[in-house]
C-alpha cells in the first residue's frame, strides 16, 4: 500500500497544486453541498466529467504497458454509443443494449489485437486505421444523425446518482479497482510488463505474448465501450460524429501524466486515473474561471507542459540528487542521470 502511495505521490502533488491554482481563479472550487441526497459542487463535476477519460485511461494504461498505443478508443466510444442507442431505439431493453455496446467494444478491441498481435501491424498504424474507420461505422449505425432515446435505466448510467455520487464516478472507481486488483492479485500485471519491456525474451520464457496483447486491446475496447456508454447515456443520444472525438489524445496524456512510460513496462492504473483527473481539473477550471474560449488550448498546453516538466525523469533525478547531496556530502561532478533501460530494440 505504501508502495502505491509513493508511486502516485507526484500525481497527487500535481493535482493538489492544480486545485490550489484553480481556487485562486474560482474560490468556491472546493465547496461541496448535499442537495437532495446527492453531492454537488465543482469537485464532483470534475469527478463526473472526468469519467470518460478516466475509463479510457485504464485500458490505455494496459495497452501502453505492452509498448502499444490505442488511437481508436474515441472511435470505439462512438461505435458503442451508437450501438446502444440503436438497440434502445429499436426497443431492446436496457440490459440488452448494454450488452450489445460492450460486445461492440470487445469486438473492436479484438480487431485491433488481431491486427497487431496476429498480423504484426504496428499498434499506431493498426489503431489509426480503426480510428478512421470506426467513426464511419458509428455513423453508418446512426446514419449521421443523433439517435436519441428515453430509456431511464440507461440514462441513469450517465446522469444518475448512487449513494450521493454520480454513477459515472462509481463506474470508473469500480473499473479502476477491478482492473488494478486483477493485475496485481494475479500474475497478469507481471506478464504484461514483461511483454512490454522485452517481448522476445518473454516469449522465449514461455509467456503467451500474442494472447496477452490481444487481451490488452480487448480490455481497452471494453473500457472505451464503458466510456461511450457514459457519454451516450449522459446526453441521452448517440452523437456518432462527435462522441469521443480526440479523447484518445487526452487518454494518452493522462497515462503519461500518470508517470507511465510510453516505452512500456511498469504501470500504475491509479496514477493514470489521477492523470485523467488532472486533465479534467484543468478543463473544468478553465470553464469556471471564465476565460475566452480561444485561450483554452494555450492554457491547457501550458499547464500540461509544466506538470510534465516537473515530473520528467531528468528533473526528478536532479531533485533526488539535491536531496541526497544535502544528506550526504556534496560530490564534485553533478551526475548526469543514466538511463537504466537498454535501448529499445525489439527487431529480430
Amino acid at each position: 500500500m505504501s508502495g502505491t502511495l509513493q508511486r502516485i505521490a507526484p500525481q497527487l502533488i500535481a493535482l493538489a497544486a492544480l486545485v490550489a491554482l484553480v481556487s485562486v481563479f474560482y474560490p468556491a472550487f472546493l465547496s461541496v453541498q448535499m442537495n437532495d441526497g446527492r453531492l454537488v459542487g465543482p469537485v464532483i463535476d470534475v469527478l463526473k466529467r472526468g469519467a470518460p477519460v478516466a475509463l479510457l485511461a485504464i485500458g490505455m494504461t494496459l495497452v501502453i504497458a505492452t509498448r502499444g498505443i490505442d488511437l481508436s478508443v474515441g472511435a470505439i466510444m462512438a461505435i458503442c454509443g451508437a450501438a446502444a442507442a440503436w438497440a434502445l431505439a429499436s426497443g431492446w431493453g436496457t440490459g440488452a443494449a448494454l450488452a450489445l455496446a460492450l460486445a461492440a467494444g470487445a469486438g473492436a478491441g479484438l480487431w485491433n489485437g488481431l491486427l497487431i498481435a496476429g498480423f504484426g501491424i504496428q499498434p499506431f498504424v493498426a489503431t489509426l486505421i480503426l480510428m478512421t474507420m470506426g467513426r464511419g461505422v458509428a455513423q453508418l449505425i446512426t446514419e449521421g444523425r443523433i439517435l436519441t432515446f428515453t430509456d431511464p435505466g440507461f440514462s441513469w448510467l450517465g446522469s444518475g446518482t448512487a449513494l450521493g455520487l454520480p454513477v459515472p464516478v462509481w463506474l470508473w472507481l469500480l473499473a479502476g479497482l477491478f482492473v488494478a486488483a486483477l493485475m496485481r492479485r494475479t500474475a497478469l500485471g507481471l506478464l504484461i510488463e514483461a511483454v512490454g519491456i522485452n517481448r522476445r525474451a518473454s516469449a522465449l520464457a514461455g509467456v503467451n505474448a500474442t494472447v496477452l496483447l490481444v487481451a490488452v486491446y480487448v480490455a481497452s475496447g471494453l473500457c472505451a465501450a464503458l466510456a461511450g456508454i457514459v457519454e451516450t447515456a449522459d446526453i441521452r443520444g448517440a452523437d456518432a460524429n462527435n462522441a469521443g472525438l480526440w479523447l484518445e489524445l487526452d487518454a494518452i496524456l493522462a497515462v503519461v501524466i500518470g508517470g507511465n512510460s510510453l516505452l512500456g513496462g511498469r504501470f500504475s492504473i491509479a496514477a493514470s486515473i489521477l492523470g485523467a483527473l488532472i486533465i479534467q481539473t484543468i478543463t473544468t477550471g478553465i470553464l469556471l474561471a471564465g476565460f475566452p474560449s480561444e485561450y483554452n488550448l494555450v492554457i491547457k498546453a501550458g499547464l500540461v507542459l509544466v506538470i510534465l516538466i516537473l515530473q520528467s525523469p531528468r528533473i526528478s533525478a536532479e531533485w533526488r540528487l539535491m536531496r541526497d547531496s544535502r544528506r550526504v556530502q556534496p560530490k564534485p561532478a553533478p551526475a548526469k542521470a543514466t538511463p537504466t533501460r537498454p535501448a529499445p530494440e525489439d527487431r529480430t
Binding site: R185, T186, A187, L188, L190, L191, E193, A194, I197, N198, R200, A201, S202, A203, L204, A205, G206, V207, N208, G265, R266, K331, P332, A333, P334, A335, K336, T338, T340, R341, P342, E345, D346, R347
Partner: protein
C-alpha cells in the same frame, strides 16, 4: 604513462561500484583488467570514456587532465572502445557501422562507394569477407563482435579498450584479433583488455590489474604470475577447480529419451537426426555461423520445423512454439542475453520466476514468499552480485545478468535444457559453479544440449559432441573421441583454417 586514473569513484544507488581506483596504462602495453562479475570493470571503462559521469577522481591522458563528457569526446581524444554488450546499430549496414562518423565525403555528401570500399578493406584484415551492404543485425553476434573491434581499432589513436571482446569468438577469430592487438601495441598504443578467459590473459597481456568489489587489489606484470594467485586475487579465496569427468563417458551411452528425426528448415539448417538420453550432455561445436544457434532455435520451436518430427518415448512432441516446447519439458537459455534473455526493467526476482509463472498461467500467481525463497536461493547458489533481489536486472553487470537468466531455466527444472553459450561473460568462480550445477542436474536425469565456443568447456562437460559445418551436422564424436584436438580437427576438416564462409 599514457593514461593514468587516480582515485576513481562511482556510486550507484545501493552500490559503490568503484571505490578509489587507480590505474596506469603505459604506451605499448596490453593491460588486463580482471575481476569477478560485478567487480566494476565495465563501470570503470564507462567512466573513462564518459558514458557514465564519475563521482570523483581524475584522468590524465599523456599528462593532460581530460574529462570526456560523452563517448564522442573520448573518441575525439583517441580512445576507442568495444563495450561489453555489442554496441553497434543493427539497423545500419556493416559499412555504415564501421565508418560511422568518419565517412569519406565528396562535395560535403557522404560517398557510399568509398565507404563500402574502405569498410571492406578494414574487415579483410580480420579475415572477414562479408557483404558490407547488409544490415549488421542480420549477422551473428560473433560477426558483430568483430565489426565492433574493427571499428574501435580504427578510431583509437592512443588507447584501445576491449571489454570482453572475445566472449563469443572461436579460436581462429581470437587469434586474428590478437594479431591486430599486438601490432597496435608495437605501434605504441595502450590497450586495456577485459576477459574472463585466463589463458588469453596470459597469452596476450603485459600487466594485469585486478579489481574486487570495486576496489583495486593489485597491479603486477603478467609474466611470473601464477594462475592460482591470479584467481585468489580475483575471488579473495582459492578455487577448487572441478575437472568434471563426463558422466556418460565411462559408462555406455544411456538409452535415448528424446528423438529428433530429420528435423530441419530450409535456409537455416539441413535436416539432421538427433537423439539424446536422460542425464546426457551433448555439445554442439562449429565455427561462427555454422548453424549451432539455428539448431537450438529449431529444437525449441523458435523457428518452426519444416521437415522432420520430434518424439519422446511416449509419442510425438509438438514443437510449434517456445510455449509448446516448454510444455514438452524443454528449456532454452539463449545466446544474446540482452535481446533474448533479460527483461531489463523487471527485478531479479521477477526475471527468475518469469518462466515458472508463465507455465503456471496468469490466474495462479506464485506466492510472494515462494518467489522470494527461490530468488534468494539462486542468488546465493550462483553468487549473483546484487544489492538485493528487488534490483532491476538491467542494473546488474553482464555476467550477473547471465547468471540470472540461467537461474530462470534451472528453476523450471526442464527435462531437456538447451544452453547457448551459457558461460559467456561469466567469471572463473561462477564458471566452475555453473558447470557443477549442470553436472548435478544431469545426475538427476536432465538432458542437456550445450553450445560453446570454448573447446575446453565443451570437453569438460560434454559426453558427446556434434560438429556442424555450413549449416549441417557433419560429424559426431563420442566417448574418448571427445578431446580438444579431435573437435578442432573435425571442425576444420575440409575447411581453410579460420575461414569464415562468406
Amino acid at each position: 604513462m599514457l593514461l593514468s586514473i587516480r582515485s576513481l569513484t562511482k556510486v550507484f544507488p545501493g552500490t559503490r561500484a568503484l571505490d578509489d581506483v587507480d590505474l596506469d596504462i603505459a604506451a605499448g602495453e596490453v593491460h588486463a583488467l580482471l575481476g569477478e562479475n560485478g567487480a566494476g570493470k565495465s563501470t570503470l571503462i564507462k567512466c573513462l570514456t564518459g558514458a557514465y559521469r564519475r563521482d570523483a577522481g581524475t584522468i590524465t591522458l599523456e599528462g593532460a587532465a581530460i574529462d570526456p563528457r560523452s563517448t564522442r569526446e573520448a573518441q575525439e581524444l583517441g580512445i576507442g572502445t568495444v563495450y561489453q554488450e555489442v554496441n553497434l546499430l543493427p539497423n545500419l549496414t556493416v559499412a555504415q557501422n564501421l565508418m560511422f562518423g568518419r565517412e569519406p565525403r565528396r562535395f560535403g555528401m557522404i560517398d557510399p562507394r568509398a565507404t563500402r570500399v574502405q569498410a571492406r578493406e578494414t574487415l579483410a584484415r580480420y579475415g572477414l569477407t562479408i557483404d558490407v551492404d547488409r544490415d549488421l543485425g542480420s549477422f551473428s553476434v560473433a560477426i558483430q563482435q568483430i565489426v565492433a573491434i574493427a571499428r574501435a581499432v580504427e578510431i583509437s589513436g592512443k588507447v584501445l579498450i576491449l571489454d570482453e571482446p572475445t566472449a563469443s569468438l572461436d579460436a581462429a577469430e581470437v587469434a586474428m584479433v590478437f594479431d591486430v592487438v599486438r601490432s597496435l601495441r608495437d605501434r605504441g598504443m595502450g590497450i586495456v583488455f577485459v576477459s574472463h578467459f585466463l589463458d588469453q590473459v596470459f597469452d596476450l597481456t603485459d600487466r594485469v590489474t585486478i579489481l574486487r568489489n570495486g576496489r583495486k587489489i593489485v597491479t603486477t606484470p603478467t609474466k611470473g604470475l601464477s594462475r592460482m594467485t591470479l584467481v585468489e586475487h580475483m575471488l579473495g579465496r582459492a578455487l577448487d577447480e572441478a575437472t568434471h569427468a563426463p558422466a556418460g563417458a565411462a559408462a555406455s551411452a544411456p538409452e535415448p529419451v528424446l528423438y529428433f528425426d530429420g528435423t530441419g528448415r530450409a535456409g537455416a539448417i539441413a535436416p539432421f537426426d538427433l537423439s539424446i538420453g536422460a542425464g546426457e550432455v551433448v555439445g554442439l561445436a562449429g565455427l561462427l555461423g555454422s548453424g549451432r544457434t539455428e539448431t537450438a532455435e529449431l529444437l525449441f520451436g523458435v523457428r518452426p520445423l519444416q521437415t522432420g518430427s520430434a518424439r519422446d518415448t511416449q509419442g510425438p512432441l509438438d514443437l510449434r512454439s517456445p510455449r509448446a516446447a516448454i510444455r514438452a519439458g524443454f528449456g532454452f537459455a539463449p545466446e544474446d542475453r540482452k535481446t533474448d534473455g533479460i527483461v531489463a526493467d523487471l527485478t531479479i526476482r521477477e526475471n527468475i520466476i518469469l518462466g515458472l509463472q508463465a507455465r503456471r498461467g496468469w490466474a495462479r500467481p506464485m506466492p510472494r514468499a515462494q518467489q522470494n525463497r527461490l530468488a534468494d536461493d539462486y542468488i546465493r547458489r550462483l553468487d549473483i552480485r546484487t544489492s538485493g533481489r528487488e534490483q532491476p536486472i538491467g542494473q546488474l553487470s553482464g555476467g550477473n545478468q547471465q547468471k540470472a537468466v540461467l537461474a530462470r531455466w534451472l528453476a523450471m527444472n526442464p527435462r531437456f535444457l538447451i544452453l547457448d553459450e551459457p558461460t559467456r561473460g561469466i567469471d572463473v568462480g561462477a564458471h566452475a559453479e555453473i558447470l557443477r550445477l549442470i553436472a548435478e542436474l544431469t545426475r538427476q536425469g536432465m538432458a542437456v544440449l550445450i553450445i560453446s565456443s570454448e573447446i575446453d568447456e565443451m570437453v569438460a562437460v560434454a559426453d558427446r559432441v556434434i560438429v556442424l559445418r555450413d549449416r549441417a551436422h557433419v560429424a559426431e564424436l563420442t566417448g574418448d573421441q571427445v578431446s580438444g584436438d579431435a573437435i578442432m580437427r573435425a571442425i576444420a576438416e575440409g575447411d581453410l583454417p579460420g575461414g569464415v564462409a562468406a
